[in-house]
Symmetry: C2
Subunit: 382 residues, 2 copies
């Protein structure tokens, strides 16, 4: 076989250069002069770099026509070697008294003085903000939430592939964990078993969140923490879990009946299933996100349980477990192809039990593809 040499120039070797180039186009066109990020998914999205958020500040400054400027501990400086784009690093040692001087050098290099600087409101902390303000006293700091959301909300093919993998890992994990379930196990112990299976099935070492395993009255709390209470016959069991694959997350919920459960529990399980389906059927590019919430909520309200559906219908999902777009009343944002979000209606009967069915949805050109496909009906565990 003859190899042909492709002489087409490859403009970008990695997604990071393309993403930075798009960011710079957006910065050049808008009022925000530069973007300043601290550790988190947006920094990883734009650079491939992963830092823990810690007591040591790490900052990346993105400015058109400049190398990416990184302020970071010397200890982490090795991470910036062999990056596929230009960086200029400003490392500091173990004494926090060094921080301000290093921030000042970086600010000077980036030309921050007097500029409008976009930040992530739910990431950037007082710690970094005060250092940035002292280093660039004439600069103005504004929310770049919408700009960042506009980039990250629409997933590309490689991101969708990673999310498919994250879903497969989570589904395999539950499938492998369920045979270990026995009535009388504690919520905590089944959560531990599921955690092991998530890791064994191939999740990134840092799982996106500790599985919620909540039974009986605890299942009526959507944000429950697993307890040492044994799971008993007659309980509803809510399992809300996910995995991470190359930084992309899955987040799903299924509800089970433990032995024989009261008839109202079966009834609400069916109502929630209908609401989940109504929500999924409402997904269509061009319609408003609030319409999905409305469709799911209406099913529950019409069945007389409206007051027991106490949260929004869903949240965006990707590199963050919760990210834009939010599927809630009042969100008139339009659904777009390539968005990924959860649809997770629930009914919570206080002190008795709850049902939630949560799927991860990819918006396609003609509707919704549910990445998650384990059975949604109320299966019985004995």
């Amino acid at each position: 076989m003859t190899r042909t040499i492709d002489l087409q120039p490859v403009p970008f070797d990695t997604p990071y250069q393309l993403r930075q180039s798009r960011l710079f186009t957006s910065l050049t066109a808008g009022d925000t002069d530069m973007l300043v990020l601290n550790p988190g998914p947006s920094l990883t999205y734009l650079t491939g770099l992963h830092f823990h958020l810690s007591e040591r500040p790490v900052i990346a400054i993105f400015t058109p026509h400049h190398p990416v400027i990184l302020i970071l501990p010397e200890l982490e400086a090795g991470k910036t070697e062999s990056l596929p784009f230009d960086v200029s690093t400003f490392p500091y040692g173990e004494n926090p008294e060094e921080w301000l001087a290093v921030f000042r050098q970086a600010s000077l290099a980036a030309g921050m003085s007097g500029k409008q600087i976009g930040v992530e409101p739910d990431r950037l902390r007082f710690l970094e903000l005060e250092l940035l303000k002292s280093a660039a006293p004439e600069a103005t700091f504004i929310s770049a939430e919408e700009m960042i959301a506009n980039f990250r909300m629409i997933k590309d093919a490689s991101e969708i592939k990673a999310m498919h993998n994250a879903v497969k890992i989570a589904q395999d994990a539950l499938t492998n964990a369920l045979p270990q379930f026995k009535i009388g196990m504690t919520e905590h112990d089944f959560s531990a078993e599921l955690t092991l299976q998530i890791l064994r099935a191939g999740s990134d070492s840092e799982i996106p969140f500790s599985p919620i395993v909540s039974a009986g009255s605890n299942s009526a709390n959507p944000h429950a923490t697993p307890t040492k209470r044994p799971i008993q016959s007659g309980d509803l069991l809510v399992i809300d879990w996910g995995a991470s694959y190359q930084g992309y997350i899955s987040d799903m919920t299924r509800t089970f009946a433990i032995g024989e459960v009261e008839s109202e529990f079966k009834k609400i399980a069916q109502i929630v299933l209908n609401a989940n389906q109504a929500g999924r059927e409402k997904v269509k590019p061009g319609l408003a996100l609030e319409g999905i919430d409305q469709a799911a909520r209406e099913v529950i309200q019409k069945a007389g349980y409206g007051e027991y559906f106490i949260h929004r219908t869903g949240h965006g999902i990707g590199m963050d477990t919760h990210e834009p777009p939010y599927v809630r009343a009042g969100n008139s944002m339009r659904i777009e192809t390539g968005m990924t979000f959860t649809i997770e209606p629930g009914i919570y009967l206080p002190a008795r039990g709850g049902v939630r069915i949560e799927d991860d949805i990819l918006v396609t050109s003609n509707g919704a593809e549910s990445l998650t496909n384990l059975p949604r009906t109320l299966e019985t565990l004995t």
Copy 2:
């Protein structure tokens, strides 16, 4: 048996009232008028309440002679029932447009206007800060880092007991995981096994951090992430793990030799052990924290490996994995009885391998008690 009725007034039923009372004394005496916290260990320390840091802002406002003011999602309002102190709650629904009005009401109730408001620099985000500033435009926001550290650095008996438990769980977990180790396992798979054992041994469901399991060249990176590379004969294996018990954390490191390792690896393991011991022996109330760093570093420097000990000697530990006090050059803060911190010298030979030995230390009236006591010598796994 005759029961006697204790007519002594019990001033506080829980540690939270005492801690709040101390905070109010400190606020009354100082320049900071009130303290504003968002979710994290300090909020739990003062209230027993646990919230996840999420896209929905949660704020607690502590002012002398006022009930604790809580701004939180309606979804979380159930958590404030039956608290042992007075609270005044300001809940909001699922539409972020409601946030500012609720922040304004809370600011009015707390009398925030024109006040000096302390915040946690490494917790409070731009999100909450901007809402607080809009709600109380005349207020000034300043770092309460030192005030909070002064409360949390000195552990009481119940906190020390919880930390003892967290250490026991971590040590039991490694003891139970090691028999599952086989040469050829990946770092990732052994980390998964250790995670299961941490949870099985009784850790809180949310473990403080994903275990670092790093072998061969990866062990030369102090902040390594477990990879899919099989652990091989001749490797050094660094295991850095911890557990959580009632919100208190353990964090320890041991290093192993896989099969026969080169003689320099054995040599650096002995030097690090000597440095760890020198650091522990230097702990004494009244001396400066930097002295511990100096003592450990000197051992490594004198052995000719100073340039390969690339981080501080330790960090405080308690409800946070990293918290004050920091054991580093330049920290002249005095050691006090009841402080808890790590001592974790290391030598990292780039691209070859590393050794770290990390203990959790409690300062007693006459020196250091190491809560962690698994063998520190370089044991061989085969």
